[in-house]
Symmetry: C2
Subunit: 307 residues, 2 copies
DNA sequence: CTGATGGTATTCATTTTTGAATAGCTTCTC
DNA sequence: GAGAAGCTATTCAAAAATGAATACCATCAG
């Protein structure tokens, strides 16, 4: 019995992801006939079909979908291996992949990483911005900036500190609609919030109401601008759309953003930098990790009222 | 830039594991020249050597060793994928890989699994026996029998119960050397123990001394027969070599094995059956999981004094 | 209805990969 | 010191995988 070529798994995944032989082949730098042959060979090896062919693409069967997680793991591992492999080991060069939330990635990381790259010009940074927690054990990223204390073993973690979330609005908005001076004042204002409520948001709402009993019920507020992206919420705050949530560290940098009711509303948010411990010995990850810890600590320090 | 073929990683790993092109090729069903060409191609793609060639094989460079963990993950994932893929999905057929300690795998599992296979003749069982905890998240096994409460998420776990470890000896040994009736009596006896002390053993020793203050210090006992394998320890107990540690459930099955000082010495040992939650829907894993839980619960029940 | 776009299947020449055979080296055993 | 066993490197013919070209089908916009 001949074992199955791993390359077949790769094109299988590409076809599965893209939904067609042509697109999958394009992603892989192959041609459509070879992609077709790979899928065919895999199906022959397994003894059952993985896709139902049609003129507008290939629809995966249940069996194919069941295999997808494995193929995804293969892909992320191979990508991590290639990242690790490229770049001389003694030098600080090659690729480091960082996972962070979109706000951090857009508002906070650029200057930190720019300075790092100034120092190490051969270092390439891959930034993966999403609130989905990428799995460091599965090597979907090398280093992650997390908002939860990482309990998993095999990870190196450094606590940055608490960068709380506060309520903010632009000065222009406040000039027109007035500054809320008590929780009750909030009821008349326009609020920027989430569009669809994820499980995380829901959980936070509950925690939130429990923590801040003087705060009006969230349902009673006027959520007049709803968008899921935190960055887009921030943009809305800056544009004077209304009052929204935002990390105090980010808001503090913009002189026109004003914190609302700082004594009443404050949602703590722990920040951690986390890395797989296998990477600890690699110079480039170590340096990047240290730079992130340092840079984020500086950022966290800005957060505290210091003036 | 052309991406690296995943098959190169596979032969890279085989060569790394076996230490030579020839042996690696043999494992993979290839020939030595192709294995050599694969390694060469990988080195060319990365831009640095992975092995130093010699007449007696290939010695890996540091860079190669750094890449090994990734390749191992690839291999175990690909193996899991193939296991998952073979066997029709509606039927109970294909391969299930179980990880267990050697004692459990040799003394307890055979009848359970035999009954399961009687019922499902197309089911193939792979047993991986070691005390090394195989990682279910990394798919090194499908189902594991663990002695610790599995804290990781993404796992389905069922608690079996407490199957404590007790001191045991063969009747023949006791006839000749006498039955210890108090902890102090133990000092004159011959003991069967571990050869090299692992971190786990050391930790258990500490816990042990703390739990059983009336027990003599372990250093004072006469460890006259030392062997790391638990199965070999059991064999030694059965051969009348001396007094040794053994799961009470296993010992109870052999009428000639006598428990020593049951009221004084008892080391609790929790048992769990654990599985990756992705496999919950697969019929063959579900069935095997259930059979293991049922069979081990029966085994645990035997343990309790019931006569 | 027509043309553009994007998909699969098939054919065939070309390129690439592979294996068998062989030479040459080292180590170990008798 | 002879011989066996195990290894790498190289050569060359055979086998396998690939890509370009093409036919053909579905969908959508105008």
């Amino acid at each position: 019995m001949n074992t199955i070529s791993w390359d077949l798994y790769r094109t299988f995944l590409a076809v599965l992801r893209t939904g067609s032989l042509s697109a999958g082949a394009r992603d892989l730098g192959l041609t459509q006939p070879t992609a077709g042959r790979h899928v065919e060979a895999l199906e022959r090896a397994l003894g059952y079909p993985l896709f139902t062919r049609s003129q507008q693409g290939l629809r995966p069967t249940d069996a194919a979908l069941a295999l997808q997680p494995y193929a995804e793991t293969l892909a992320s591992t191979a990508a991590a291996m290639e990242r690790h492999a490229t770049g001389a080991s003694g030098d600080i060069s090659g690729v480091v992949r960082i996972s962070a939330s979109d706000v951090i990635g857009i508002e906070v990381l650029p200057p930190i990483l720019a300075a790092l790259q100034d120092e190490h010009p051969h270092l390439t940074i891959e930034l993966s911005l999403s609130d989905a927690v990428e799995d460091l054990l599965r090597r979907e990223a090398d280093i992650a900036i997390r908002m939860t204390n990482p309990a998993q073993e095999a990870l190196v973690a450094q606590r940055i500190g608490n960068v709380p979330i506060g309520l903010h609005a632009h000065q222009r908005y406040l000039d027109r609609y007035g500054m809320p001076l008590s929780p009750a004042d909030l009821k008349g204002h326009r609020f920027i919030g989430f569009d669809r409520k994820t499980a995380f948001i829901r959980a936070m709402e509950v925690r939130f109401q429990a923590m801040m009993p003087t705060f009006p019920a969230l349902d009673e507020l006027n959520w007049s601008y709803r968008i899921d992206s935190n960055v887009a919420q921030l943009a809305a705050i800056r544009a004077g759309v209304g009052i929204g949530f935002c990390q105090t560290g980010v808001a503090r940098r913009d002189p026109d953003l004003v914190r609302i009711l700082p004594d009443v509303f404050e949602l703590p948010l722990e920040t951690w930098v986390v890395m797989h411990e296998n990477l600890r010995r690699g110079l480039r990850w170590r340096k990047t990790f240290d730079a992130l810890v340092q840079g984020l600590r500086d950022y966290a320090r800005e957060t505290r009222p210091q003036d």
